[in-house]
Each structure stands twice: as structure tokens, then as C-alpha cells.
């Protein structure tokens, strides 16, 4: 019995000795700074490419966390350790500024999002001629949108449906995704016959050929002005400001446009 305990102690001591240099080594190889970024789900494709080109330019890498803007705002208000927050609207960043969680001077409108109606490629619906009215077709059993309670694109979708005068008729067929990515995924997997999702999702490289989209007219919903803020508790405000400056360059603007965003 004793020599089992002695063996175990030896193994533990050796493991501790080995672990320390390994940890130190890991710290040393990461000599660049890392920014932790919270971003709205509609940026999941655009921001990855922007992050790669920013890292090539400055050596600062980005750790990206995507989700619904409302959900991320909640996490940040409760102390989540992010450096920057890219929202899908301007209200959530303003909410954080009022709560003292973000720097008021850093608020910047980085893009304008567009809402589209998206259906799988094999759908028989005539989007170009009927637009939103295709949702009244009996073959459309489920329409996916992001949850309007905490996703700006979900609120825009509801506004667009109301503006088109069909909200009451389709309300009972809506399925709510936790964020726009889940809503898009419901349509892509065929479980929903149509969905109202960001243009960014419809034109993303991974989605090419998987569906067809129709842009909802801009006057059907309040403009999706998307804003970012630097968060008060960030330890890397200088690098965060560099990222914001990078977004104002032509290079970044091209990338954003490629993914379906317009510049304000």
C-alpha cells in the first residue's frame, strides 16, 4: 500500500516539473498581443478574413466570439472579458456606454447590414417576381428568423413582414433561431422552407450554391446601422484602436463590401 502511494507521489512530482517549463514555453511563443472580440453572428464570415489580414499587417491576432448582439451585450454587462464589441445595431453599444461598460468616444458605425429573403437552391418559390409574398405560399411551412428579442436582424425581419402587410398571416409559421446563424442554418438544412437572414450570410463563400436570395427593400425596415465599441475593461485599448483604424482603410472596406455590407 505504501509503495503505491510513493509511486503516485513520484508521478505527480514529475508531472509538475514537466508542466512548468511547458507553460513558460507556451507563454514565450505567444509574443504578439491578442484581442478578444465579441461580434454579431452576421459577421462570422467577414470578420474572419478581416482578422487574418489585420494579423498579417500588425501581428496582432484576434480571438473571435460570435453570437446574437443582445446575448453578447448581456455577457459584457456581466463582466465578460472582451476588448471590442461589434454589434448588429447601434442601440446595444449605446446601452453598454450608458452602463459604463464601454468607452463613449470609441463608438463607430462600421457598416450597414442588409436583410434578405433566403431559400434553398431547390426551392420552387419565385422570389424575383413575388418578393416577400412568396411566404404566403402553402408550401412554406416554416419561416426562420433570428429571435427579435435579442437580435437586430430578427427585429428587422419582423418590421419588414409588417411593412409588407403579411406579418399576421405568417406569424404562426415563424421559427426563431437563437441568432442569425442558427436561423440561416434552419433554412440551409431544409427544416425551414425560407428565412430572413443577413445578406452577409447569403453571399458567404460557404453558402454559395446552397441557396438563392432576394434583397428586401431598404425602406421596409429601419436601417441596420452596425456599430462597434471598445470596452472599458480592455487591457489592450491601443491595439483595439488600431483595429478600428484598420476598418476605416480601403482594404477593409473592400472586404466588408465583398461580404454584403455597405459602408455608412
Amino acid at each position: 500500500m505504501e509503495h503505491i502511494a510513493k509511486n503516485l507521489a513520484c508521478v505527480l512530482i514529475v508531472a509538475c516539473i514537466l508542466a512548468n517549463p511547458a507553460a513558460a514555453f507556451a507563454q514565450q511563443t505567444k509574443n504578439g498581443t491578442e484581442l478578444v472580440v465579441a461580434a454579431a453572428a452576421d459577421l462570422s464570415t467577414a470578420l474572419k478574413e478581416i482578422s487574418d489580414s489585420f494579423e498579417k499587417k500588425t501581428g496582432v491576432s484576434l480571438k473571435l466570439s460570435f453570437g446574437a448582439s443582445g446575448a453578447l451585450t448581456q455577457q459584457i454587462q456581466n463582466g465578460a472579458p472582451f476588448d471590442l464589441f461589434f454589434s448588429a445595431d447601434m442601440d446595444y453599444p449605446r446601452q453598454l456606454i450608458t452602463a459604463g461598460a464601454a468607452d463613449g468616444t470609441s463608438l463607430y458605425e462600421y457598416a450597414v447590414g442588409r436583410l434578405v429573403l433566403w431559400v434553398p437552391t431547390d426551392s420552387a418559390l419565385d422570389l424575383d417576381h413575388k418578393g416577400l409574398k412568396v411566404l404566403l405560399d402553402p408550401s412554406v411551412k416554416k419561416i426562420a428568423i433570428a429571435n427579435p428579442q435579442h437580435a437586430p436582424y430578427g427585429r428587422a425581419a419582423v418590421a419588414a413582414l409588417k411593412h409588407a402587410g403579411i406579418y399576421d398571416q405568417v406569424a404562426d409559421r415563424l421559427v426563431l433561431g437563437e441568432n442569425v446563424s442558427q436561423a440561416a442554418q434552419f433554412v440551409e438544412s431544409g427544416n425551414a422552407e425560407a428565412g430572413l437572414v443577413p445578406l452577409a450570410h447569403a453571399v458567404a463563400p460557404g453558402m454559395q450554391g446552397k441557396g438563392k436570395y432576394w434583397e428586401v427593400r431598404a425602406d421596409f425596415y429601419p436601417p441596420l446601422a452596425q456599430g462597434l465599441v471598445i470596452l472599458s475593461h480592455s487591457q489592450h485599448k491601443k491595439e483595439a484602436a488600431e483595429l478600428v483604424e484598420y476598418l476605416k482603410t480601403k482594404e477593409a472596406a473592400e472586404l466588408l463590401r465583398k461580404y454584403g455590407f455597405t459602408l455608412p
Binding site: 426562420a144 428579442q149 438544412s189 425551414a192
Partner: protein
Amino acid sequence: MAIDWQAFWLTLRLAITVSAVLLALGLPIAYWIAYSRWRWKFLVEAVVALPIVLPPTVLGFYVLVALGPRSPIGRWWISLTGHTLAFTFGGLVIGSIFYSLPFAVQPFAASFAGVDRKLMAASATLGASPLRTFFRVIAPLSVPGLITGTALSFAHTMGEFGVVLMVGGNIPGVTRTVSIDIFDRVEASDYVTANATALLLLVLSFSVLAVVYGLNRKAWVVGPVK
């Protein structure tokens, strides 16, 4: 503050349906696991235990995609019922059955295995068929295990979140369970309602479990007690 009573009623219905189905489905599986002497039985036991280890999101993912409209099983389901598995109460039931399966089968199997073999042998020598032996000898002696398994699958389904989040679509009255409602409230910063709802769920689940375990005490067991 507006507590979503519809969500409570829906969650209760889901938990009761799933526990009932698992009682029917779990008994034969547990019987086989308890009494079979197949040398590869351990593989079946591992498969039954899998849902304990797998995150519920995996189960949800499979219901959504592997059983979705693009898959053969999904297409068969649509031809049978006219709609997809996702976004329906039936879809939640099926996902939950997988999710809570080990919580029903393992207690059942454990208590079957604990029944004195001599009693089963005696029953056989008296001319009872295996089915008769099961209902007249094994089951009454396994009541604590049956109650535990059913109570656990009920409680586990009441608290389910991952599967419902993946495949539910958050439809009020159909797939918006209490756990989803609490999540929504928190995300909308409505902490008052979230608190009230969570507390209510806690009290409800505790009461049900207390009643079940209270009835399960030794005083009620039929037959010789070890």
C-alpha cells in the same frame, strides 16, 4: 413580470410523455442487459450510456441534419406525417427519448439484475413462462428501480435545454420549454421574470421528486427485502 405558464405546461407534457415512453421502451432493453450472457453485451451497454457523455447539442444536431428533410429517414418521416421532425413537439419527444434513455434503462437493469435468481428459477419450475415470471416475480421486486428510473427520466427531461435549443425553433406552446424561456428572459435582461421562472421550476421539480422518492420508501416494497 409575466411568467410563461404555457411553457410550464408544455415542459410538463414533454417530461410525462418521455417518461411514459421510456418506461415502455426501457423495460425490454433493461431486461436484456440484466439477463443476457452475450459476450458483446458490453458494447450495447456502452451505446445505451452514450447520451450521458454526448452533449445534448450532438443529439440536436442529428435530429436536425441526420434526421432532417435531406436524409432518407427524414424524408420517410415527412411522407408519414407531412412535416419535419424539427420544430415540433414530436421532434422534441424523440430527441428527449435518446437524451434520457440511460437514466431510465440503467436503474431498471440494475434492479432486475439484483433480483434473487433462485426466485426466478422457482417460478420457472412451477411452470411460469418468462413473461409471466417477469410480471409476477421480477417486476414487483424491482419497483424501487422502476420508480427511480422513471423519476430520473422525468427530472432529466424537465431540465433539458441543449436539444430543445438546437431543434425547437422557440415556438410558444409547441417548443418553447421553461429552460428556453429562462434563457430568453436573461438575454432580454428581464432578470425578474427569469428569477421567478427558475425558482418555480426548482420548486415544481423538487416537489415531484420528493413525492416520488417518498412513495418509494421501503415501507411500500412488495416481497422480501434484502
